[in-house]
């Protein structure tokens, strides 16, 4: 009963998010995110139909669609990165370098883990691959969040909602997957039971924050700041040069 309720709630919420996205124009603004939601909705509808009419096919289908949705969720991370660094060319370059490092490291870790796994069955292999892809996603997402917090990137309400929902989902998933592979762990059973509910919570976050289109934060007026900035920067440099020489003098033993 509960499982069915969560299942149908998820489908309904995804449909609402897509419809609202179309009505508010956010679908054009965040196409990759809505592509992800569309993918999940399609796989869930197919899953429900297969579950009802061809139950034997459900298990193999489940694992392959699970993997497909994890791969599709990378579209969300690309969307977040694309939208948040639109006006920050320098930061975009810095983030790209950091992502490449993190991506390389996590892929290497996940690949070694995957190869050592010894695949008992196709579902186990897919589950492990899915887990490793989530770890990579988690690593990249963490770097992205750190950059947003550290550089105080101004984000619109819609984008913040998208990031929060996504972080909640990926964060919970990563912890859950880590415990999943720990045999006989009771905490893992509890977490697995909570996973569908956390997905519904994520969809509610997205539904609320993407219900209507909010304006993007205002970017600095370039001409004025540029003129004022150059004037102030030259003055500041002069002060700093004077100050640095004083520090050097004071700090000498």
């Amino acid at each position: 009963m509960n499982t069915n309720f969560i299942w149908w709630s998820g489908i309904a919420l995804e449909a609402v998010i897509l419809l609202r996205g179309k009505n508010t124009g956010l679908l054009k603004k965040y196409p990759l995110f809505y592509f992800y939601i569309g993918c999940v909705l399609a796989t869930e509808i197919i899953g429900v139909l297969i579950y009802q009419f061809a139950y034997d096919l459900y298990e193999p289908l489940y694992w392959s669609t699970e993997l497909a949705t994890i791969v599709a969720s990378y579209a969300v991370i690309i969307e977040i990165f694309r939208c948040s660094t639109r006006h920050k060319p320098g930061l975009r370059r810095l983030a790209q370098n950091l992502f490449l490092i993190v991506f390389g490291l996590t892929v290497a870790y996940a690949a070694s883990d995957f190869v050592q796994g010894g695949f008992g069955s196709l579902s186990a292999a897919i589950l492990e691959l899915g887990r490793d892809l989530r770890y990579v996603e988690g690593g990249v997402l963490l770097v992205m969040l750190w950059l947003f917090v550290r550089y105080r990137i101004p984000l619109g309400r819609n984008l913040v909602g998208l990031i929060i929902g996504y972080s909640f989902w990926v964060g919970f998933n990563v912890v859950n997957l880590a415990f999943w592979f720990l045999p006989g762990n009771e905490f893992s059973i509890l977490l697995r039971g909570l996973l569908p509910a956390t997905y519904v919570v994520t969809l509610i976050i997205w539904c609320v924050t993407l219900w209507s289109a909010h304006p993007e934060p205002v970017q600095p007026s370039e001409t004025k700041i540029e003129r004022d900035y150059e004037l102030l920067a030259s003055k500041t440099q002069a002060i700093l040069a004077r100050a640095s020489s004083r520090v050097a003098r004071i700090m000498k033993p």
């Binding site: 006006h87 060319p89 320098g90 930061l91 370059r93 810095l94 370098n97 950091l98 770890y135 988690g138 690593g139 997402l141 963490l142 969040l145 750190w146 947003f148 917090v149 550290r150 550089y151 105080r152 990137i153 101004p154 984000l155 309400r157 913040v160 990031i163 929060i164 972080s167 909640f168 964060g171 919970f172 998933n173 990563v174 912890v175 997957l177 880590a178 415990f179 934060p217 205002v218 600095p220 007026s221 370039e222 700041i225 540029e226 004022d228 900035y229 102030l232 920067a233 500041t236 440099q237 002060i239 700093l240 040069a241 004077r242 100050a243 640095s244 004083r246 520090v247 004071i250 700090m251």
Partner: protein
């Protein structure tokens, strides 16, 4: 087991940073996102005071005055002197912490406009800032516990790092290029 711990930490950090982003967004929604004229002026003023007061700071932590008071003052005067110096030292440290934090904040916001930020430099700066924060809080604790005259080496470090941040700030200003 260590792998599991690393992954759990990764998941928890994602959740913590997500929460932090919510708080940050709700705080900055009422503030201006750009670096304003006033902030520049404040940063300049802050820098000026850090260095103009440098000789006075040296004096706060210098043992010369304490030696003089010990030789000629009564115990009551010594206690009063110590109390005042301790208050002054703590006040100076708090001010320095605040000014460095202000510079760091400005630097981070300006970094967004820089066309060629160096990842190595940014990581080095973060590490240096974290170290500075840690040492300055240890110094604060030392000042509370042992007074200003027994923490001179840490004071020298704090002043040195504050100077480093000012130089870094200067370099940042040189490299900032607003979008054209």
């Amino acid at each position: 087991m260590s792998g599991l711990l690393a992954i759990v930490v990764l998941g928890i950090l994602i959740l913590i940073f997500g929460l932090r982003l919510v708080l940050q967004s709700s705080n900055t929604s009422t503030q201006s996102q750009s670096v304003t004229m006033e902030e520049f002026a404040n940063a300049r003023e802050a820098l000026d005071t850090v260095f103009v007061e440098a000789s006075a700071i040296e004096r706060i932590f210098s043992t010369d005055d304490m030696e003089f008071i010990s030789r000629s003052g009564t115990p009551k005067v010594q206690r009063l002197f110590l109390k005042e110096r301790k208050a002054l030292a703590i006040q100076w440290l708090r001010k320095t912490q605040k000014q460095v934090a202000q510079l760091m904040d400005l630097h981070l916001r300006l970094a967004g406009y820089t066309h060629e930020p160096s990842p190595r430099f940014e990581l080095k700066l973060t590490a240096k800032y974290l170290k500075f924060s840690l040492v300055s809080y240890i110094l604060l604790l030392l000042l509370w516990l042992r007074g200003p005259f027994k923490a001179k080496r840490v004071v020298a470090y704090t002043s040195g790092v504050a100077g480093y941040f000012c130089t870094v700030f200067s370099l940042r200003l040189e490299s900032v290029e607003f979008r054209r």
